[in-house]
């Protein structure tokens, strides 16, 4: 496969593990703790980068799958020993949900903007549903659903066949490895036959269909894959903070994911990761400085991304770089996302 020999792929495959191993040796535990959640959220951003950026599906409720994954992990991990059943449940439940939603949407041929609203609506339904489950009556096995209080003391991750839970550094290794594996895996996937068809559907759905591809199945496939990644990230998130609450289904959280991907750059895979790290460290910094309301910051970032850098940072930077390097030569036009 040609992608395996590309310079940037090899660079990421070599530098990534080196960075993951080195970081806990050089920075404080507190930073490691924060970097772990950034890596988990960046994985979530990648799932939307795949579904929206590559597949052209406006999944504005990607948070629904993240939250479902988190809740599935929490419930399974509380009821069964070890985190393996939890992680399996955290993939299975979002995929089933995505398959059902995707069936109604893609086979009904709902237009893209309508789909955006419907996927967001699903997240808000879950928000209302979970919020109404406070009280002792709502429990699955030993796990209380907890309503708006969420589920506390979610068991941490552990390695398969090892009882001891991961410590801060171990959780960081797991989260960073998840991000790296998902990132490299998606880069390879985009260059497979499946990936190429998915991108061609984004570029021109009618043409892909006329060439004989069942567009609906490809959309369903990429949507379910995105849900699986988001669900896995949700499980890691619940294990990281040993908590999962209905806040992950809220409209604000859904908006955050969109901002990461939009700011980083649609149609790229590194963009959403960078976007997530930039936005999260910015909001964390502003939060520490107590400078302003997070809603205002997110809103301004959102508006700025759409109005000023509509292509996103990574594609814009690439274009500027190309212009600087190739001054005088004809600049190849960037493809529209």
């Amino acid at each position: 496969m040609r992608e395996l020999r590309s310079k940037s792929f090899i660079a990421a495959a070599v530098a990534g593990p080196a960075l993951i191993v080195a970081l806990p040796q050089i920075v404080e535990v507190y930073t490691i703790f924060n970097l772990s959640v950034y890596a988990i959220l960046a994985t979530l951003a990648l799932s939307l980068g795949l579904v929206w950026g590559m597949g052209g599906i406006l999944s504005f409720g990607q948070s629904a799958f993240f939250g479902l994954g988190g809740y599935a992990y929490a419930i399974a991990a509380i009821n069964f020993a070890g985190s393996t059943p939890g992680l399996l449940a955290a993939v299975a439940l979002p995929v089933v949900a995505a398959a059902v939603i995707g069936y109604f949407a893609f086979f009904g041929r709902i237009s893209d903007v309508y789909f955006a609203v419907i996927s967001l609506t699903v997240s808000l339904i879950l928000y209302n549903l979970i919020n109404s489950t406070s009280g002792a009556a709502y429990r699955i096995g030993d796990a209380p659903l907890g309503g708006y209080n969420g589920i506390p003391s979610v068991p941490p991750l552990n390695l398969p066949f090892a009882a001891a839970p991961l410590d801060f550094a171990g959780t960081f290794y797991a989260a960073a490895l998840l991000l790296l594996v998902v990132y490299l895996g998606l880069r390879l996937l985009v260059n497979t036959r499946f990936g190429r068809v998915v991108v061609s559907v984004r570029e021109n759905e009618l043409r892909a269909e006329l060439l004989g591809y069942d567009v609906r199945l490809y959309k369903l496939g990429v949507f379910c894959l995105g849900a699986a990644i988001a669900g896995l990230a949700g499980a890691f998130y619940a294990a990281w903070g040993s908590f999962i609450g209905p806040g992950v289904f809220s409209i604000g959280f859904a908006a955050q994911i969109i901002v990461w991907v939009l700011l980083g750059g649609l149609g790229t895979l590194i963009g959403p990761v960078l976007g997530c790290f930039i936005v999260q460290s910015l909001t964390a910094w502003l939060g520490e400085a107590e400078a302003s309301n997070p809603s205002i910051v997110l809103g301004v970032l959102f508006l700025a991304a759409v109005m000023l850098v509509p292509k996103g940072l990574v594609p814009s930077l690439r274009e500027w770089g190309r212009r600087l390097l190739g001054a005088g030569r004809a600049v190849p036009r960037e493809r529209a996302p």
Partner: protein
């Protein structure tokens, strides 16, 4: 809930509450429907337009303005003004880029929520609904419920007359059908869009004010409206008035029926679930299949 009382009383009460659910759903959605149907713009800050309408009404009443003036003049005017400014500064630059419009207005919605919670805060005293209550056999129902149903009907009629029988309505509908042709015939398309957006915003402001005495006002209240409003507009389809009226009748009835059978939360879940299933079979909404070409 239905302790004593005869069957007829119960039936009337259920009918009134279904009509109320339909009417409030229509009020929540119609401003969004006008903007979407006439301009193809999806305004994600619609919930915040309702929120601002509610706040404008409550603050005006607290400042001593007459209840009805606050509801029917102050709230629509304030929100219309904000709407026109938003159209000038943001929407106008994004015509034809429907996804970018969704994203920009979503950012705007977050911004409004942030500003409202910074300046107005979460502990806003509400305004009690006037009129007292009405007896239906063994039951009591707030008279304001009937008022909300009446406002929804009156608004439907007024908007229908505006779009169907006035020169502005004719121009607006022409622009909606073919903006390029309207421009070629000398219509100032930008002005038409600006006014249409303003009208949509004014209607949203009015709706926010009418619902404020029942729902209360909070900076984040728009979020509770937005999902229902969007689903109603999408299920309604291309025709802003006929579509919204039909969709809110259908979804409001489902919502209220499920609420009677279980809880209010499950009622909303039933509304949204029914809408998703319906769109599997009518992807262009109700007026995409039936009553095509109506207003």
């Amino acid at each position: 809930m239905f302790a004593e009382g005869g069957h007829i009383d119960t039936a009337i009460l259920i009918l009134v509450q279904v009509l109320y659910a339909v009417g409030s759903l229509f009020l929540i959605a119609v401003g969004l429907a006008i903007v979407f149907g006439m301009m193809g713009v999806i305004n994600f800050a619609h919930g915040e337009f309702l929120m601002i309408g509610g706040f404008a009404f409550v603050l005006a009443v607290k400042a001593g303005v007459n209840f009805w003036v606050a509801m029917f003049v102050v709230a629509p005017l304030v929100v219309a003004l904000i709407g026109v400014v938003v159209e000038r500064l943001i929407i106008r630059h994004l015509y034809g880029r429907i996804v970018d419009t969704v994203l920009a207005t979503w950012g705007l919605s977050l911004l409004f929520i942030g500003i409202a919670s910074e300046t107005l805060g979460y502990f806003q005293e509400g305004v009690a609904p006037p009129f007292g209550s009405v007896r239906i056999g063994a039951y009591q129902e707030g008279a304001y419920t009937f008022f909300v149903i009446g406002v929804a009907l009156a608004l439907l009629a007024a908007l229908y007359v505006l779009l169907r029988y006035t020169p502005f309505g004719l121009i607006a509908r022409g622009t909606m059908q073919n903006a390029a042709m309207a421009a070629a015939l000398g219509t100032n398309v930008r002005a038409v869009y600006s006014i249409t957006f303003g009208i949509g915003a004014a209607v949203s402001g009015l709706a926010g004010a009418v619902l404020a005495p029942i729902a209360g006002v909070l900076p984040v209240i728009g979020v509770t409206y937005i999902a229902k409003a969007f689903i109603t507009v999408i299920v309604g389809g291309a025709s802003p008035l006929a579509g919204t009226a039909l969709a809110s009748s259908l979804l409001g009835t489902i919502n209220q029926a499920a609420t009677f059978a279980s809880t209010a939360v499950l009622g909303e879940v039933a509304l949204l679930g029914a809408a998703i299933v319906l769109l599997r079979f009518l992807p262009a909404g109700i007026t995409g299949r039936f009553l095509r070409g109506s207003v």
